[in-house]
């Protein structure tokens, strides 16, 4: 891991307009991503955890520039790519790839696996037909699929195999950073471990950097060097995986950890369950976004939003409590 970050995100915001009323006027915004800063180093995995709707995918889509962020900046290898367009963006499209939760959504069902895997080379105008076919076979081998898969269609594969196809496509052009958006959430337990092993092997082989999005903290901890916990569009805590698990400081992180069911029947403990639902990012609570559910809420939390502050080496928390 070198010291120069491969990715640096500064105060990124993505506010979606919400159309209301018969005139479809925009009075409100869905603050899906609301001021996020993070860095990822070469060969490093940053895990991103948070509940449904907290903005994880949106953040990933901003980084890959599928969305144009409302404000803030994205630096890739030191270069500001926030506002690049068209041809200027092309080299970065190659370097930053994405793996999706449901590979069926991202794989064109009417194309053979061979065509799907060849496409990125064609788009980037790399090699001739023969060399591209060779590359495709090499990719299939890398992700552990048989060569004869080229003439078959995505629906002929199992969920785990389809995810391998998705992974093969995302690594086709030797990317430097891969955004993995819940790549194993839809898979059976017995398949999930195959994909996690594959991602870890590929990282070692190609020195890849990952932003690994998931809501299963055990999975995230397994693959990540550092973990960032998100709540309603904001990062509320970030630290090394082990620290997040052993010494969680933010009350939300603590409740997340306590909510994980542990596969050990000898450890039946009464959990510390937090009440209430995740609020909407359209009308986020004032002050700290977690305050309506926080077991340790103080008066100050209701109107003063806490800032992310450093509490120990590489351990950031956004909370008014004296931690």
């Amino acid at each position: 891991m070198s010291d120069k970050p491969i990715l640096e995100v500064r105060d990124l915001k993505m506010h979606f307009p919400v159309k209301e009323g018969i005139l479809l006027r925009t009075n409100k915004f869905n603050k899906a991503v609301d001021g996020i800063s993070l860095t990822i180093h070469r060969g490093e995995t940053l895990g991103l955890v948070g509940e449904s709707g907290c903005g994880k995918s949106t953040l990933g889509r901003c980084i890959t520039r599928l969305y144009q962020p409302t404000s803030g900046s994205i630096y890739f290898e030191g270069q500001d790519i926030t506002h690049l367009k068209g041809n200027a963006l092309l080299p970065f499209r190659k370097d930053i790839q994405m793996i999706f939760q449901d590979p069926m959504e991202s794989l064109n069902a009417r194309h053979t696996v061979g065509d799907i895997l060849e496409e990125p080379f064609i788009v980037q105008k790399i090699g001739d037909r023969i060399s591209r076919k060779k590359q495709v076979l090499k990719l299939l081998d890398t992700v552990g699929l048989p060569a004869r898969s080229t003439s078959r269609y995505p629906f002929e594969f199992s969920g785990g195999q389809r995810q391998r196809i998705g992974i093969a496509r995302s690594i086709a052009l030797n990317p430097k950073l891969v955004i993995c958006d819940e790549p194993v959430s839809a898979l059976d337990v017995s398949i999930q471990s195959q994909i996690l092993n594959l991602l870890i092997d590929l990282q070692k082989e190609f020195n890849l950097s990952y932003l690994f999005i998931a809501h299963d903290l055990a999975v995230v901890k397994h693959i990540s060097d550092r973990i960032a916990i998100m709540y309603l569009g904001k990062v509320v805590e970030s630290a090394a995986g082990e620290t997040i698990y052993r010494k969680p400081l933010h009350p939300y992180t603590r409740s997340l950890i306590s909510a994980i069911p542990v596969p050990d029947p000898h450890r039946k403990v009464k959990r510390q369950v937090i009440s209430g639902d995740v609020p909407s990012p359209i009308d986020p609570p004032s002050g700290c976004p977690f305050h309506p559910r926080c077991p340790q809420v103080m008066d100050r939390c209701k109107h003063e939003p806490p800032q992310l502050r450093s509490v120990a080496d590489k351990h950031l928390v956004s909370c008014h409590l004296d931690l």
Binding site: S193, I257, A259, D264
Partner: protein, 323 residues
């Protein structure tokens, strides 16, 4: 006497390609006041088992082709439909895998709960409505009197699932069958729902059959566990038997493949290679044979009989003693 005793249950579907056996001679029982967990790969027959018990198999394709389901000593498989309707909701409540399909989008929450109460009790409308508010309150829906007048789409996923549970519990059933009640939910909401089921169970002395693929959830909530694979039960026993002394290679594979918060980051996870055989081409022998690291010639020849390891711990494997 157990509350529910399933013996040699066989469930088949007529499909375009022919008849398939989704559940093949399974036997298990659920004790009063206890929770029985059913785990297994996607498609192994968990939901079909639940639907068979409830006699809610899709018609005309699905039918129970053998075996019995004794509930308080009465065989539900041969019960006249009019009597079965009384059992459903009144004595056995069910939470379906997709909460949205269980709720009627055009009726208010209140109406849907009150209807169940009116159907099974000799209540006045007034009393049914009052009791509905109480039930919503019990499952942790804030301001239940207001929510009574709302429609399903106005509730969050977690609240909807609580409403579904409220409906299943409305008539204080003796048995609750919950099919993946928390899979679609966030971790903190999942924790709330599991605690809720546990509390209500303790309060009402109800038995629960919990279907899930999350081994953590099983370890935390169940007394007994049934492990299914390709339509058959491969292992069953107390939660301690199954987690401390997993005896079927599939159970072992499952337990070994999940990352826990204790596994070292980026370490190799153990995997189960290969795929589940399709129902149309089931092998003559053990159904796990093609993926089993311990398979021998005999395993492919005939179906392994159920063998008793001790008291209530049973496994269906030729080689359990050697592994």
């Amino acid at each position: 006497m157990p509350l529910l005793e399933v013996s040699n249950l066989i469930t088949e579907f007529d499909t375009d390609e022919g008849r398939v056996r989704a559940v093949d001679q399974i036997s298990f029982s659920a004790n009063t006041g206890e929770t029985l967990g059913i785990v297994g790969e996607s498609g192994c027959g968990k939901s079909v088992t639940a639907l068979s018990i409830m006699r809610l198999l899709p018609q005309p394709m699905g039918k129970i082709a053998g075996g019995s389901v004794l509930f308080q000593g009465v065989d539900l498989t041969t019960l006249p439909l009019s009597k079965m309707e009384k059992v459903r909701g009144n004595e056995i409540g069910m939470v379906f895998q997709e909460p949205m399909t269980a709720l009627n989008p055009v009726h208010t929450i209140g109406k849907q709960i009150a209807e169940v109460l009116l159907l099974h009790n000799d209540y006045s409308t007034q009393r049914a409505l009052k009791e509905s508010v109480d039930i919503l309150d019990r499952v942790g829906i804030p301001s239940p009197d207001i929510r009574m007048g709302e429609y399903p789409h106005q509730l969050s996923g977690g609240m909807r699932q609580r409403v579904v549970i409220a409906i299943a519990l409305a008539c204080k059933p003796k048995l609750l069958i919950a099919d993946e009640p928390t899979t679609a939910l966030d971790v903190t909401i999942q924790a709330q729902i599991l605690e809720l089921i546990k509390d209500l169970q303790a309060e009402m002395g109800m038995s629960v059959i919990l279907i899930t693929h999350d081994l953590g959830v099983i370890a935390e909530t169940c007394e007994q566990v049934v492990v299914m694979y390709a339509g058959k039960i491969v292992e069953k026993g107390s939660v301690f038997d199954v987690f401390d002394n997993p005896s079927h290679p599939y159970t072992r594979g499952l337990l070994a493949s999940i990352p826990t918060l204790e596994t070292p980051p980026k370490s190799k996870l153990s995997v189960i290679d290969g795929m589940v055989p399709g129902l149309m081409d089931l092998p003559p022998g053990c159904r796990f044979e093609n993926r089993c690291p311990y398979a021998r010639h005999a395993c492919g020849q005939s179906v392994p009989p159920i063998q008793v390891i001790e008291a209530q711990h049973e496994v269906s494997c030729f080689r359990w003693r050697d592994i």
